[in-house]
Amino acid sequence: MDMDPDDVFRDDEDDPENDLLQDRQSSKELVVFLVDASPKMFNITCPGEDQENTSHFHVAVSCIAQSLKVQIINRPYDEIAICFFNTREKKNLQDLNGVYVFNVAEREYLDSLTARFIKEFDRVEESFSKVIGSQYGIVPGSRDNSLYNAIWVAQALLRKGSAKTADKRILLLTNEDDPFGSIKGVTKLDMTRTTLQRAKDAQDLGIAIELLPLSRPNEEFNVSLFYADLIGLDGDELAQFMPLAGERFEDMNKQLRKRMFKKRRVRRISFMIPGGLSIELNTYALIRPSVPGKVTWLDSVTNLPLKAERSLICADTGAIVKEANKRFQTYKNKDITFTTDELSEIKRVSTGNLRLLGFKPLSCLKDYHNLKPSLFVCPSDEEVMGSTCIFIALYRSMIRLKRFAVAFYGSSSRPQLVALVAQEEIIDGGGQIEPPGMHIIYLPYSDDIRPIEELHADTSGVPLATDDQIQKAAALVKRVDLKDFSVCQFSNPALQSHYALVQAMALDEDEMPEITDETLPDEEGMARPGIAKALEEFKICVYGENYEEEDEKANNVGKKRKQITEEAVNKAAYYDWGKLADDGKLKDLTVQELKTYLTANKLTVAGKKEVLINRILTHMGK
């Protein structure tokens, strides 16, 4: 564990796991979009979503706009610039022809995203021809090379920030696979050479150049004509490039709004194995519930941010108390006080760290042995060499023998018994699905487990399903099978609609972006004949034919409620409510009597008498 010698004595009440939710600016991406704005991009050629033809330029711009909206939520610290090239007007620091850097006021060319930037960019097409204009930048007879200029501008923008802390990328969107096709002879060779050199210079500076090509329906973008050299493709990469590029476009459009977290360990702990070996582990939070970001309170009049100041007031004297370092518990009619030091001492039942106690077969870990999200651990040799080797040995044994480790995790907030479950690495489609390591699962204590099963135990025995019923159920289970179900295939509809609202408010959008609730069951699928048949068979098998009757029985509750309402209406009719209210005599009635009015008028009956009276008055409009 990380500790200063002085820290050993300090009380570490604040759990570092808490600040996980506050992401930090540890590493960011700097991205320059280079968008070809040549007239060729405006030729209406590709079929759009609604079967109407749209231009490549529109496809490129709306794709970027979409990804910006995602990016501002996922990675708000990233910095973005958007450059058009092959433009009539020019706007760039180098004052190069044919390159126009799109920007809004109060923002640097390469800067983090703002709502205004996104909003203006959404409308860039409306005024494009007027303000920026499209024009071929590479024409015979001119020495201008707009592609070269564009890369130069992008590279200059990306000079910002050190290569160590930031990923730098240029994303090039074009439908011109042969930018120097109109040029002939030496000039063409020369231009190709200088442009490639420029790109290579940029790459040498740690800038990655990526190409997002747009193909025409009948004419595929030919990467090998020029761009293969520019982005450095050969062999297999070349063959796979086009299909992959297509997928990337899809990805950009369909990205999920999801805040990204930089890989960061929660803490370093030492794992003590009986016999005196103590190895070093890093812990990571791989699964934590996402929340819609921190709320900043604002003054609703000025929209200025507020800070909360807390003051402690003695309830007896009304004096302001500076610090409260004592707590108390009322016990046997006495106030028993504890100092904060004593409390942290009580919680310190183990000398920190993770102590191995032994191993058990996996079958001992029940489904209800869970309290909160797990914590991932993997070994580190950073301080203690040999840790990884010991960890891997134990990990492999545990997987092979199907056993888990029981350990005591002496964290300062809640020291707890934990299970360490080894997880094999799973790789699928070239990506790591499950990293290799162990998961810490927090185990409940005896008083955390409730014996609910026994709550409704029936000494006369409970009905048991017959074999036939079990078989029918099995048939149903087999039918309604989610074959490729993977945990977390659903996005959280509540969170997505929250992000959508924030975006709509920030960009003054009139319509809320549509959020589909992916968590709803597949009604159509369930209605398929095979499934419907299995369902019906199982239903008849357990419920019998006259299930509907039972259903009605259940409706009795509803009937009863109706009856109560009717009674209330009758009773309420005894009183002249308007008069009582006018004379201020409502308070003379009993709560029961007041409730008849509320029930009769289908209002809630909860609350104290005053509240009830107020509710009645409000309802009567008085």
């Binding site: 010698p5 003051s311 191993f359 797990s374 945990v487």
Partner: protein, 681 residues
């Protein structure tokens, strides 16, 4: 308030064979009563012991018999005296008859409550059921138990039996008695709500008695929608829920001591001020929530939030079934729910039972989408796993665990173990040693009680808190008590298990080697954290490199003392003295903290003596003296006080004024540190 009050009679076997665990029983019973004092102070409790020489109960006076059963405390509302009563249980001298005790307990409950608090009457029997019970006047023992059980059912009584079985050897005759008794006790569950648990260790005895009674409430009652046409009525409860450390109120001692009615509470008052202009206070209702969007904060009123809030309908819907292996254990997100069929609906029980058994057999789980309440603003996706009941009286049920959404998973990449260099991978011999350790350091030995089963493992922190609370109620200045031996088996390896597997552990240890990374040592890193990184320049990577050639900058594991001496005598910078002292202190701490049953103590002592010597030479007495008291205090706080004793036995003392002028310790106080510790213990 007292609506849910419980009437409980504790029946405690104090016959000679129980004496060894009576301390644990006293602890767990006093914890039970203490928690009642805090959380349900209207509950009423009586205490009966059996196996005593004397006899004291109403029945013996009324009808005779029932010898050796003593009512220690008739049923009364919980109070401090009750805690004292269960903390001083008498040690009995004769074998106890638990059946007599049960009758006495029932009699107490019936006389006290008659027909009231139905279903809230409970008998808790703690015994080892080692001795045969007396034959009844008429009929068999079985008949007697059946009659008792029926009576209990009539009066709405529950009985919990905790049967302690130490792991001592028994002769066949005793085994016969025990089997017979177990059979008799199991009869109770046929007629009334009864539960019997067997425990083998004192630790699980502490966990076996439920010390906190929480009235369960349903999270959801309604349909489990298999499809739009097929629904099953279910009730959902929490199966696990963390019992939290009590929330203590902040204490103010501002009130004059004469004020008898002082609440001593502290109220919190919040004021909202504009960050740029703290003189302006904004009333709470004038605030508006803001959410970050890029660098900006977007104000959104609660009305706007409400208007577009995601509001799903209350429902629990099935999405489908899938293989259990698709859901890995570490994806479980929260505490666990349990789905039971509506207990009054026979057909629902059948439907759940059929599904549970089919799923269990096919190794399938169900994926559900749940909205527990109307107006809830989110949905929950989770996995339903079958729980087949092995008791005729208890229906089958499902456990439900919440699963993460796509947003909740962070896709961090980690290196594959197989792609790591060979030097980091275990050799076949090492792997074998690890296999043996994983197999032999066994907490679930066949034919014996599983160690540290969560169901029987008490929370050591809460045990300690309530213990301290009780001590403080008598003497407000009592220090925090050390952790109980039975509780230490939860936080530390069980010495018994360790000693049994010593060979395997030693073998494992021999096969692996750990050393501190020479490039980045703990002490150095701590020491030079704020200094420029240049200090690593001429550092040797060879641990055992000769100290005379290489300028020592850090303390090695094997050559700590000589490294330290070399380092402190470096004269190229005046900083080395303090650096060396600092590093040495860290080293000593590491040694003490990581020692296993004192195996590092001699080494730590060696270092400590070297440090002491150096501090005298360098005239830095305070560095040493303060450190020594730090170490001792730390050790006492962390159950390492054996180290202090070790130091005292080796006569390590403070540096005195005679040795170094700056010291504030007089000659006579040199040993004060250890002397002080004695009387208090």
């Amino acid at each position: 308030m007292a609506r849910n009050k419980e009437g409980l009679v504790l029946l405690i076997d104090v016959s000679p064979s129980m004496h060894s665990v009576l301390p644990e029983i006293q602890k767990v019973c006093s914890l039970l009563i203490q928690k009642k004092l805090v959380y349900s102070k209207y509950d009423e409790v009586g205490v009966v012991v059996f196996g005593t020489k004397d006899t004291k109960n109403d029945l013996t006076a009324e009808v005779g018999g029932y010898e050796h059963v003593t009512v220690l405390q008739p049923i009364k509302v919980v109070d401090g005296d009750l805690v004292d009563v269960v903390q001083q249980l008498p040690r009995g001298t004769v074998p106890g008859d638990f059946m007599d005790a049960i009758v006495v307990g029932m009699d107490l409950l019936i006389k006290k409550f008659q027909e009231t608090i139905k279903g809230k009457k409970r008998i808790c029997l703690i015994t080892n059921a080692m001795y045969p019970i007396k034959d009844p006047y008429e009929g068999t023992k079985e008949d007697q138990v059946l009659t008792l059980a029926e009576q209990m059912a009539v009066h709405g009584m529950k009985i919990d039996c905790i049967i302690y079985r130490g792991n001592q050897k028994r002769d066949p005759h005793e085994n016969n008695v025990i089997e017979k008794n177990d059979m008799l006790l199991s009869i109770f569950s046929k007629k009334t709500k009864a539960k019997a648990v067997h425990v083998e260790s004192s630790t699980s005895l502490l966990g076996a008695l439920r010390t906190r009674n929480v009235t369960p409430v349903t999270t959801y009652r309604g349909d489990l929608e298999i499809s739009s046409t097929f629904k099953i009525k279910v009730w959902v409860y929490k199966k696990t829920s963390e019992e939290r450390f009590p929330t203590l109120k902040k204490y103010s001692d501002n009130a004059p001591s004469t004020d008898k009615f002082a609440t001593h509470e502290i109220k919190l008052d919040y004021e909202y001020k504009i960050v740029q202009d703290p003189s302006k206070v904004v009333p709470p209702e004038q605030r508006i929530k803001g959410y970050r969007y890029g660098p900006q904060v977007i104000p959104i009123s609660s009305a706007e939030l409400d208007a577009v809030k995601f509001r799903p309908e209350k429902s629990v819907k099935l999405l489908g079934f899938t293989n259990a292996s698709n859901i890995m254990r570490h994806y479980y997100m929260k505490d666990v729910n349990i789905f039971i069929a509506d207990p009054g609906n026979k057909k629902a029980i059948l439907a759940v039972s059929a599904l549970v058994r089919a799923m269990k057999e096919m190794n399938k789980v169900a994926i559900l989408r749940c909205v527990w309440r109307q107006g809830q603003s989110n949905v929950v996706i989770g996995v339903l796993t079958p729980n087949v009941s092995d008791n005729n009286n208890i229906a089958d049920s499902f456990y439900f665990n919440v699963l993460p959404f796509a947003e909740d998973v962070r896709e961090f990449q980690f290196p594959s173990f197989s792609s790591l260099p060979v030097s980091l991978q275990p050799s076949p011999e090492q792997q074998e040693a690890a296999d043996k350790l994983v197999m032999m350091l066994d907490l679930a030995p066949a034919g014996k009680e599983e160690f540290l089963r969560p169901e029987f493992t008490p929370n050591p922190v809460l045990e300690r808190f309530y213990h301290h609370l009780e001590l403080k109620s008598k003497h407000p200045d009592t220090a925090v008590p050390p952790l109980d031996e039975s509780l230490k088996r939860i936080t530390e390896p069980d010495p018994e298990v360790i000693s049994k597997t010593k060979l395997v552990i030693d073998d494992f240890r021999r096969h692996f080697e750990l050393k501190e990374n020479p490039k980045l040592k703990k002490s150095t890193r701590r020491l030079l954290k704020d200094k420029s990184s240049g200090s690593y320049e001429n550092q040797s990577t060879d641990l055992i490199a000769s100290t005379s050639e290489v300028k020592v900058e850090t303390l090695g594991d094997l050559t700590t003392v000589s490294d330290f001496e070399a380092m402190i005598s470096r004269r190229d910078s005046p900083e080395w003295v303090s650096k060396a002292i600092f590093a040495m202190k860290n080293k000593i701490f590491d040694l003490v903290e990581n020692s296993f049953e004192g195996d590092n103590y001699p080494k730590a002592l060696e270092c400590l003596i070297a440090l002491r010597k150096a501090c005298v030479v360098e005239q830095e007495p305070k560095q040493f003296n303060n450190f020594l008291s730090h170490v001792c205090r730390f050790c006492k706080e962390t159950n390492l006080s054996s180290f202090c004793e070790f130091l005292a036995s080796k006569d390590v003392t403070f540096i005195t004024k005679t040795e170094a002028e700056d010291s504030e310790i007089e000659e006579k106080d040199a040993r004060s540190l250890f002397v002080k510790a004695e009387p208090s213990s």
